[in-house]
């Protein structure tokens, strides 16, 4: 700053005059902008859908005002840190405690893993750059092709069912009923229970021989040769894994939805009741739109978790029979730790996984942005 002051003093008279002129100009512009804002956009209650263009225009105006203000301040004080920069600093101070830990312990290794996709490395021998060789291998890897197909099938089957079940359960358990706490705990139970334990139980219930499910089907009159073999039957194995996943994780997303539901004001529902809205209308016009940030979060987490599915498959089918439930992360794990220690190739597979997730996330983000402009 001292440097700036010196510089200021050195300014010739002419320069000072120019500066003052510019400042006056800017001030005038600012005043004009402010007036426009007051006259054209003085209504706060803009509707996100109807007044889309107007909102955009308003944002543009605000940005311009900010910019002008910044230039004025810079000219006036000659300070390096604008108010904007200060604000950024405050924001960084909020983020720092988490980000530093996150960057060191997660981001850095992740970036390293990305670089590895173009390398050949077994964890010990020197790393070698191999260019795109790892990606070329993917096209010929039958297990990878099976895995990518299975993963997508798994996601398409699991995401909508889990979402619907979680939301339904949350709405149900948000009502004022007796023993609500207990019901909620029960709904959350499959998620908290140790995977090892519930998978064992699940496998025994769905055992093709004498499992409870098949015994019940027999009692319902299903012929013995028509009984599904569940996890040990190539036609039913994926279904078994999906059913297990939905059952296991719906409680988790139910909790997120329950918390989201608390954010909706009761007044909205009261007003709707006065207007004579029925339950379905209330859901469509109040609950669903109000839950948008929550749903955004749930869909992204759900999609990512589905693409990353590993534990459930490992516990229920071990990818079998054969490769009929082999999923991407299972294949990654085998490549890195079972069949070889090919970390480079494993990283390349995970890049594909990453690209898939990114695609879904970006689409979702677009959706959220439109909403957030309210």
């Amino acid at each position: 700053m001292a440097y700036d002051h010196m510089k200021n003093r050195e300014l010739s008279l002419q320069e000072a005059e120019e500066k003052q002129k510019k400042l006056n100009e800017l001030n005038a512009k600012m005043k004009q902008l402010q007036e426009r804002l007051m006259t054209e956009f003085n209504t706060w209650g803009l509707d996100s859908k109807k007044d889309k263009d107007k909102i955009k225009e308003k944002d543009k105006l605000l940005r311009e005002m900010q910019k002008t203000q910044r230039t004025i301040e810079k000219l006036k004080t000659g300070k390096l840190l604008s108010r904007d920069a200060k604000r950024s600093l405050v924001a960084y101070s909020f983020i720092a405690p988490n980000f530093i830990g996150f960057a060191i312990f997660t981001l850095l290794p992740v970036i390293f893993a990305f670089i590895l996709a173009f390398m050949s490395w077994d964890g010990n021998n020197p790393i070698q750059f191999v260019g795109l060789a790892n990606f070329k291998r993917l096209a010929e890897d039958t297990r990878f092709l099976a895995a990518i197909k299975n993963t997508i099938v798994y996601c398409i089957a699991t995401v909508p069912f889990t979402l619907a079940a979680a939301l339904g359960l949350a709405i149900l358990l948000n009502k004022k009923i007796k023993g609500r706490a207990i019901f909620r705990a029960i709904g959350f139970f499959p998620y908290v229970a140790s995977l090892i334990a519930v998978a064992t139980v699940w496998n025994n219930l769905f055992s093709p021989g004498a499992g409870l499910v098949n015994v019940m089907l027999t009692n319902l009159g299903v012929a013995k040769q028509n009984l599904p073999g569940w996890a040990a039957d190539a036609d039913w194995a994926m279904f078994t894994v999906v059913a297990f996943s939905v059952w296991k994780s719906m409680g988790y997303y139910m909790v997120i939805y329950l918390a989201g539901l608390q954010g909706i004001s009761g007044e909205l529902y009261e007003a709707a009741s006065l207007d004579g809205a029925n339950a379905l209308q209330k859901f469509r016009n109040i609950t669903w739109p109000q839950l948008k940030p929550t749903t955004f979060f749930v869909i992204i987490m759900l999609t990512i978790n589905c693409f990353k599915v590993y534990d459930q498959v490992y516990m229920i089918t071990q990818g079998g029979p054969g490769t009929s439930t082999l999923v991407l992360v299972y294949h990654i794990y085998q490549t890195a730790f079972v069949t070889s220690s090919d970390y480079g190739y494993a990283s390349a597979i995970s890049m594909v996984l990453f690209a898939l997730v990114l695609l879904v996330t970006v689409v979702q983000f677009r959706g959220e942005k439109n909403y957030a402009n309210d």
């Binding site: 996150f102 981001l107 019901f183 499959p190 699940w202 608390q262 954010g263 909205l268 929550t294 990114l358």
Partner: protein
């Protein structure tokens, strides 16, 4: 025509029927676990299932405490879980506030960075991460697990979504009153985010409590191991002793359920209770 009252009653009965059906579906595996934990191993798979064993083998619950150092494992896990949960709550709600309510440079890039890491399976960067942890001397320490779990992208993402739901006008008003951002965070946002915070607490607690692969890679000394490694070791060594395995599983479940029951009441006193319009 039904009058309003009986219609309401019918609705209520229907609701309970649905709830009880769901409950049964949810609870069958749990009942199976408890029932198996009281049986001799050879009786676990008998057909048809005997839900209530003739002579319950309560001894299973005694034996497991001596077969593995279960108490030590429970203490280790509790310590790690508590520290991780506290750190996670503090740092991620702090960071999430900035992501949701402040404008700053490269906000979107940073946030995408967070989400991007969620999408990468841990198995891929586990080895580089381990090498790094070891190089800074964290191998075989609880601190390694804490560092691994406490700064998760998930917490930031979740809290950001909840703060996003809080109307901006609240913060704007406070800013006009001359409140600093730190004050807005502590005085306005934190009290409002009770449901979100309790949700995050439960999730972090459950995730850390049930985490298995992380501790099994980092913790190699017996006295530092956690409950889930203990459970796995137990299953590995006594893979045919289902009664004991199920007893151990039931025990590992209890603390998590207690935490859930204690916190779930906050789900009803949230933003709505403070009377702010959504």
């Amino acid at each position: 025509m039904l009058n309003k009252n009986s219609k309401r009653k019918l609705n209520k009965i229907l609701l309970y029927v649905v709830l009880i059906t769901i409950t049964v579906v949810m609870l069958v595996p749990f009942l199976w676990m408890v029932s198996a934990s009281l049986k001799f191993d050879k009786d676990v798979f008998t057909v048809p299932i005997k839900w209530i064993p003739e002579n319950p083998k309560w001894n299973n619950y005694k034996v497991i405490w001596t077969k593995i150092p279960l108490m030590k494992f429970v203490l280790n896990t509790s310590k790690i879980t508590l520290i991780v949960t506290v750190l996670q709550l503090l740092t991620s709600s702090f960071a999430a506030y900035a992501f949701a309510k402040l404008r700053f440079k490269s906000k979107n890039a940073l946030f995408l960075g967070y989400i991007a890491t969620i999408a990468v399976p841990w198995q891929v960067y586990m080895v580089p991460q381990f090498i790094m942890m070891r190089s800074i001397g964290l191998n075989d320490t609880h601190l390694a697990i804490i560092c691994l779990q406490a700064f998760s992208a998930f917490g930031v993402f979740m809290m950001r979504q909840f703060y996003q739901g809080v109307p901006d006008s609240l913060c704007e008003a406070a800013r006009i009153d001359g409140m600093s951002e730190y004050k807005i965070y502590t005085k306005i946002m934190l009290p409002l985010s009770k449901p979100a915070l309790s949700t995050l607490t439960i999730f972090t607690f459950v995730a850390t409590w049930n985490d298995f692969l992380g501790p099994s890679i980092y913790l190699t000394t017996e006295s530092k191991k956690t409950l889930q490694i203990g459970l796995r070791m137990f299953i590995g060594q006594y893979s045919s002793e289902y009664g004991l395995i199920m007893a151990a599983s039931v025990i590992s479940l209890i603390p998590v359920l207690i935490v859930f029951l204690c916190l779930q009441k906050y789900f009803v006193e949230g933003v709505a209770a403070t009377g702010i319009k959504g």
